[in-house]
Amino acid sequence: MATEGSERFDQVDWSDISRSGRFDLSINSIGMLLTTLPVALLAVYDWQFTGRRTATFEFIGLDRTLETVDFFFIFTLLLAFWYLVLPLYQHPRMTRYYWKEFKRNRPAVVSMIWLGIVFVGGIVGPLVMSAPQQELLIAYQPPVFTSVVESTPATCVGDVMNGRCYGTWQHPLGTTNAGKDVLTMIVYGMTISMQIAFITTTIVATIGITFGTLSAYSGGWVDEIMMRFVDIILSFPTFLMFLLILYIYGGGLGMFIVVFSLFAWGGTARYVRSKSLSISEEEFIKASRISGASTYQVIRGHVVPNVASSIITQLTLLIPGFLLFEAQLAFLGVGDSSVPSWGQLISAGRSDLSYAPWIVLAPGIVLFLTILAFNFLGDALLDALNPEAEAETE
């Protein structure tokens, strides 16, 4: 284009410009589509063409299998990458501003590092560490730097001195009653926790934002009915529902995630509704409307981004609830015992608490730290993303 650079607003011939450009995709959406496609194909292949017991990657000679939950997890990771991480890179000024606000909160920065470890451990760990094997001979090995009475483990892997068995770096956090390495199990548990965190957040955010904005923009009796439905969702006894489904279909991790997130979006929807109502009163929404933008464009371009940044906090604070709930259910023995979650590990070690406390303590502390980290992070995000909200509450 010859005129480029000297382009002026009063020289645009609008009759030349067609309206076809409305459907052009952003680089983020193109990337999302391109990366989702192979995952979706793999999922279809896994679902239709491989046997129930065959590993997904058998066609390239790998003995690795992906469950439905794993596919969802990959999908949510892609979502997070293209619509959360990449935009931060694309808008460096905004990112720097958020980071400046965020880093004032020291505990939150530490929390973020911890969650980063859990995240990377959860993604990479299972790829580089082989799954914990049952080895009854080396059951009850103590963690490194500690010792137990020689008679507790069947055979002591480390040194035996003065009738006490000392822990080794082979099993830094000791082993369970079945001889499984506790550290490996915690790393595998990180995957489960991250799956819970990402998938529930995606489901809750999707339903909550859609439902909330629809309700706010419909108004009238539609709004009324939708909000009463939210009341029902909020007051629904999810636990009983879960037990019922468990009884009828049997429950795995996927079932847990689906059931609990399908009944957890009520609060989010309510929050989104009130937030969208207040945002739609702002003058920039009016400005957007008189620019000729359709209601969909206004919602997609202004309402959702503004709502989303303020519900990130709420969603972050929702995750610890799920993690705790999963642990509680596992501890009660309700749920899939084949899922290597932290809760299952705690539950497995509770009968040995008196002489092998590390089996409970190690995952317990990790769980505690993770939940604490999410809470700190949520608080800091509230301050960083919503400085007004902080000012209002003070």
């Binding site: 650079g5 002026r8 607003f9 410009i17 409305r22 501003y97 008189i290 202004h302 981004p305």
Partner: protein, 444 residues
Amino acid sequence: MTEPLLSVRDLKKHYPIRKGLFNRQVGAARAVDGISFDIAQGEALGLVGESGCGKSTAASSVIRLEEPTSGEVIFNGGGRESATRNPDGTHPNDVTKFDDEELMQFRRGAQMIFQDPSSSFDPRMSVGNGVGELLKVHGMSDRHRRRAIVEDLLERVGLSASDFDRYPHEFSGGQKQRIALARALVLNPDLIIADEPVSALDVSIQAEILSLINDLQDEFGLSLLFISHDMSVIRQICDRVAVMYLGEIVEIGPVEEIFTNPQHPYTEALLSSIPTPDPRASIGGIELKGTVPSPTNPPSGCRFHTRCHKVIQPDGVDIDQDDWRGVLNFREKVITGEIDIEQVRENVAAGGSGPSDSEIRAEIRREFDISETVDDADLEETLSEAMNLLLGDNAEMAGEFLSDEITTPCAETEPETTVHTPDHESACLRHEGQAAAEPNPADD
């Protein structure tokens, strides 16, 4: 006569008030109640009035941010010039009847600047994208082209091209209003509606923005509908001014004429509120007493009569104008039952001795600025009679008595529009009998 760019005819915007189980409409807030004005190509029309008089509602109805209740908004810009009325009386350029396609085209012809610079930009969008959004909405999908146009425009309004990637929180109020101006300009409109664009800014910044608006208006031949409550701002920027009171335009005319020769009492009151640089001049000449009436239930007759300092006395009465105003205020308060005689009694008693009736009468007169005796025997008698009734705890009867006995023509007759000079009109009963306005003068 050349065709006006925008011509508003009898525009009304009523907000229904609903109550009860079935949302029955029990009334309406008549925010804008039949206003008419024209804006010529390249002209700046000021719309002035106090808060709540419907200025902003008028603006958002004209630009169809809200659907007007009735009336016509005829926009002859954006390639729709010299259209004639359809045989059925509707106008092809009536904005209120535009379909989606036409409305989209109208958006390119008319844009708006808002009052509050802090909320008029999306905090999550860089200002460049915020301005460029309009181009995108109207189909310009070439990102580089959008950027080039917006950067050029940002420089034109006194910012730099590198501000494209900045976010609203990085700008001051004045800078944001410059960006708002860029946003309003980016589609190259013929008309810009500015809703109190400088009222949130410091005086020094105000002057900068106003002169920027003036320059841009001259350069691009823009028409401007400039809304403000500040007469001095209007004087700086507008060619003509329309004064609004409670949903109606009470006076419209060229700025210089309105300022030197205001015809409507309300305009006089507004003008007297402009501070003068002379320290010896008394501050504010005319003080409007009483509260602004609610648009839900506007006063009968002339809407300004409840506060007008020049309210007309009926035939045969000729007393001091301040007394007359006081008497009417007194009447109004008694009718609405807002005078608590016990309260007055206590207040007087607090001054010392037990209050006598005459002391209370004097107190009430002082309260309403009525002299010891008014110059009209009948009126004086009516007043004493009403006060007797009040003192005898017959407030309701006093109210009925007063509403029967004291009347003003202003409350009974709706004023017609009077033409003073061809371009200067006002609606006040005091001008009754002068040349009346021909019906819809610009409707040819």
